[in-house]
Structure formats: structure tokens, C-alpha cells
């Protein structure tokens, strides 16, 4: 793989990664949000795969395959099973911030990410480092999704997106995480999703819905 191809693929991947986060902010349908999260997982896995293929190093390739199976396969399937079948549960209820403002806030967060990561880019002008702002923007957008959504499931999606962003930043800055660290982090996320799925199921059975705003006050 030549340097130009490597740079092109890496930029495209980082862009797709950020684009998936933006579309998650845009969409309201829970199912399509989960599908977008799976696409973001594919883009995330492509980062270590590209790096491994470019350097001819099997370590990042294996990490990439593990990430691909987990983030683009297992986690979205688990989340999809947690999406309720009732019509009221399929869509995000009225969000705390409307879509137009959310998109503008996302734009501001992206610019903020580019502004605060400038010292990191100044350290090293490699293609991977130049893509760090995109991963950092995903972290900020994920935090915003977590605080602005009401459904338990969309908050879980926000949490997974946050983790995707952190992982991508690690891949891009360090040029590959040791396999054992990546496995540990992945197990952690997997268990978190198991717990969230269980909790969502329990909430639905106990209260008939997963709107977290209705759980803030005591009632009979």
C-alpha cells in the first residue's frame, strides 16, 4: 500500500467515523441509530486494519478484526434486541434540544475539537495524527448525545459512541494498542451493554417505557 493510498483511506475512514456520529445526532428512529452505530464500528475497525496493512504488522490487523466483530456485529445486535417492539418505543421521544439546535451544536463541537487538538497535530504531522480531531469530535458529540437524549437506549448508544471515540483516538495517536489492552476494554464494553440491555428490559417490564425523565420523581 503506497503512502498516498494509506493517507486517502485513513482520511476517508476518519471522515466516515465522524459522519456516522453526526447522522446519529440527526436521526430519531432508534433502529436506524443502532444501524449507524454499527457503521461507525466498521469505520473504527478500518483504522487499525489500514495501519496494520500499511506497516505489514499482524498485531493491529488482529485488533481490527476483534473490533470489527464486536462493534459492528455483537453490540448492535444486542442493542437491536433491546429496542422495544411497541410503536412508542421505536422513536426517541421529544428531545431536550431540538434537532436543528443539536446539529448546530454538533458543528460547534466539531470546530472545538479541531481547535483543542491543534497542539497534538503540531507535535507530529503524520496522516494518523492529522485525523485525531475527527475522533476527538466524536467523543464530544457522544457526550452531547448522552446528556440530550431521554431514552435509555439512546443514552447507551451515546455511551458506546464515547467509547468508540476514545478507542479511535488511542489507535490514531499511539499507532496501535496492545492486543491484551484492547481485549480488556472490549470485554468491559460488552459487559456494560449486557447490563444496560438487562436494565432496559427490567425498566420496560416495571414501568412500561424507558423514558428516563419519568423516573426522576417518586410516585405510587
Amino acid at each position: 500500500m503506497s503512502l498516498a493510498t494509506y493517507t486517502g483511506v485513513l482520511d476517508l475512514t476518519a471522515g466516515a467515523f465522524l459522519l456516522a456520529a453526526v447522522l446519529i445526532v440527526w436521526r430519531r428512529e432508534l433502529r436506524s441509530i443502532v444501524h449507524l452505530l454499527a457503521w461507525q464500528g466498521v469505520a473504527l475497525a478500518a483504522i487499525p486494519l489500514t495501519e496494520g496493512l500499511y506497516e505489514g504488522n499482524p498485531g493491529p490487523v488482529i485488533v481490527g478484526l476483534v473490533v470489527l466483530v464486536l462493534r459492528a456485529g455483537v453490540l448492535p445486535v444486542l442493542l437491536l434486541r433491546a429496542v422495544g417492539t411497541a410503536d412508542a418505543e421505536r422513536r426517541e421521544s421529544t428531545p431536550l434540544v431540538n434537532t436543528t439546535s443539536s446539529l448546530l451544536i454538533t458543528a460547534a463541537l466539531t470546530m472545538l475539537a479541531y481547535a483543542v487538538t491543534r497542539p497534538i497535530i503540531a507535535l507530529d504531522q503524520a496522516a494518523a495524527t492529522r485525523a485525531v480531531p475527527a475522533a476527538f469530535a466524536v467523543i464530544l458529540i457522544a457526550l452531547f448525545v448522552m446528556v440530550s437524549r431521554r431514552r435509555a437506549l439512546s443514552q447507551a448508544v451515546g455511551f458506546l459512541m464515547l467509547d468508540n471515540g476514545i478507542t479511535a483516538t488511542a489507535f490514531l495517536i499511539t499507532g496501535g494498542v496492545p492486543l491484551i489492552v484492547e481485549l480488556g476494554a472490549s470485554m468491559d464494553v460488552l459487559f456494560a451493554v449486557f447490563v444496560l440491555g438487562l436494565l432496559t428490559g427490567h425498566m420496560r417490564r416495571a414501568f412500561g417505557g424507558t423514558d428516563l425523565d419519568q423516573l426522576r420523581e417518586l410516585r405510587d
Partner: protein
């Protein structure tokens, strides 16, 4: 500047004048066939124009000069854009006069003229249509400017011929992330600016939903013909701009031969017909968006344009 490039620029204006009603007719025909109707044929808009041009001139009582000159301004700015854009050949004689920002400004001059004409009639529909149209235009403008900015980064210039020849020299950049995002943002913006579905339904006259049609409701006869002609030309010109910004192949060079200009004419005719057909086919499957959700769509396209700028500026390979 050779004589032939002047001929090419004049030819551009003439072909846009003659071809625009056919583009509109073609889109209506594609849509009709896909919906299972026979359709009026590709030449129907031309027959409508001929009929309206023969009618008597009627002006609503109390309207002023603003109402009278608005159609001419809308048509004139569009024709000027048609002369500036590299549609058949690069290096039009007017090329140095206006860059892409200038073209966007001319485009909005036409919109503002029609909006003022809608207000000038003093009717409820005219005012409502103008208010909606100007709201959409105000939301569209930042997106267009950002997308243009993103496109002018690789060519290092906002001059249209420079952008197009930069793409011709380096075809790979069409598929770069910034370019793809700018393409999507521009498509949404062009749909909003020319009043197509899902932002505005061009064939509706239902009082609650119409935007562009409400604004020009008071026009009749030759003036209406001019307004409709202008909106058809604006659609054609914008589609040609989109085609040449992203798929410039077939366009004649800065110092063209007669054969190259002819190839350019054929190439752009094919490109615009394909784009118009795709747009019309896409419209069959979507419904008009609620007016209050249009800002959502446009802020989305603004965000895409912003990402295009960041992608082409920050992610671009360092030139060293």
C-alpha cells in the same frame, strides 16, 4: 481569448434559453411515467410558454415598478450566470468578472427580486410566499458559501474555471471526503433553492403548502411566462454547475476548437438530462417535508458543508 470562446459563451446563453423548458418538461415526463400517467410530453412547457406569451398583459391594481421589473431581473441574472459559468468551455470572456461567490450573489439577487414583487402585490398569499421563500433563502446561503469554500480549497481559487480545471487535472479528488460531503450539501441546497420536493412542491397550488407558487400567484400572461422560464433556467444552470464541478469530463478547454465546443454541448446535455432524470425519479418516492422541519434539513446540510470544509482543510495531505 479567442473568438471561439466568445462564440461558446453566447452559445451557452442560447442553449440554456432554449433547453431549460425541455429540462422541466423532461422532469415532468419522467415523473408522470413513474406515477403511471401518460404525461404531457417533453415539449409541453414550451407550448405553455408560447400560449402565455401571446396573452394580454394584466397588472394588478396598486402594484409598482418592483412588481413589473422582478421577472426581468430574475431572468436576467440567470442568463448572466449562464454566460459566466464554464458550461461548454472553460475561460468564458466573463470568467474573470465573477467567481463562485459572485454567482451565488447573482442567484440570490433573482430570489430577492421575486420576493419583493410578492410583497408588492399586497395580497395575503404573496406576503406569505415571500416570507417563506426568504426564510429558506436565508438558511440556504451559509451552506452554499461554505460548500463553495470547501470546493475552492483544492483548486486554491474560487474562480470557476480554476476549480473545474483543478478537478480535470487531478480526478482523484472528486472522491475525497471533502468533495463528497460538499456534493451532498450542494444537492440539498440546490433542491431547496429551486423549490423542488421535499422542500417545496413545484406542481402544487394548495394554499397552505405552496412557497414559490404563492409568491408569483399574481403574475399572468407574458410576465408569468418569464417567471416560469427563469425558474426553469435557474434549475438548468444549477444542475449544469453541479455536473461540471464534480464531473467536468467532456468540457472544452480554455482555447477550444469548434469540435471541442460541440462535444462540450453534447456532454453537458447528457449530464444535465441524467441529473434531472435522477432528481425527478427521486421525487416520486418522497413527500413534501413540513415547513417547520425544513430548517432541520437545511441545518443538516450546513453541518455537512462545514464538515466538508474541515475535511478538505485539516485532513488534506500536507504539501511538503
Amino acid at each position: 481569448m479567442s473568438a471561439l470562446s466568445i462564440v461558446a459563451a453566447v452559445l451557452q446563453v442560447v442553449v440554456v434559453l432554449v433547453g431549460a423548458p425541455f429540462v422541466v418538461g423532461g422532469m415532468r415526463q419522467v415523473r408522470a411515467r413513474l406515477e403511471g400517467r401518460a404525461g404531457g410530453g417533453v415539449g409541453q412547457p414550451w407550448r405553455d410558454l408560447r400560449k402565455q406569451l401571446r396573452k394580454q398583459q394584466v397588472t394588478p391594481r396598486g402594484t409598482t415598478l418592483v412588481f413589473a421589473v422582478a421577472p426581468a431581473i430574475a431572468a436576467g441574472t440567470t442568463l448572466l450566470i449562464a454566460a459566466i459559468l464554464p458550461i461548454f468551455a472553460l475561460g468564458s470572456p466573463l470568467d474573470s468578472v465573477a467567481d463562485l461567490f459572485g454567482v451565488v450573489g447573482l442567484l440570490f439577487l433573482g430570489t430577492v427580486a421575486l420576493t419583493l414583487a410578492g410583497l408588492d402585490t399586497g395580497t395575503a398569499f404573496g406576503g406569505m410566499g415571500s416570507s417563506r421563500e426568504i426564510t429558506i433563502a436565508a438558511l440556504v446561503e451559509p451552506t452554499i458559501l461554505l460548500a463553495v469554500f470547501a470546493l475552492s480549497i483544492p483548486g486554491q481559487s474560487a474562480n470557476l474555471s480554476a476549480i473545474v480545471s483543478a478537478t480535470l487535472d487531478n480526478p482523484g479528488q472528486v472522491f475525497s471526503l471533502g468533495s463528497v460531503l460538499a456534493f451532498v450539501a450542494l444537492v440539498i441546497v440546490i433542491i431547496a433553492e429551486t423549490g423542488r420536493l421535499p422542500v417545496d412542491n413545484p406542481s402544487t397550488h394548495l394554499e397552505l403548502t405552496m412557497i414559490h407558487e404563492a409568491m408569483v400567484l399574481e403574475y399572468a400572461g407574458p410576465k408569468l411566462a418569464l417567471v416560469e422560464w427563469a425558474s426553469g433556467m435557474r434549475l438548468t444552470v444549477l444542475l449544469a454547475l453541479l455536473a461540471n464541478l464534480f464531473l467536468p469530463w467532456g468540457i472544452a478547454g480554455a482555447d477550444p476548437s469548434l469540435l471541442a465546443v460541440l462535444i462540450g454541448v453534447v456532454a453537458i446535455a447528457v449530464k444535465v438530462s441524467v441529473l434531472a432524470g435522477l432528481l425527478a425519479a427521486g421525487e416520486v418516492f418522497i413527500a413534501k417535508l413540513r415547513y417547520f422541519r425544513v430548517p432541520e434539513l437545511l441545518s443538516g446540510s450546513f453541518l455537512l458543508a462545514l464538515l466538508a470544509v474541515t475535511a478538505s482543510y485539516f485532513l488534506a495531505t500536507p504539501t511538503r
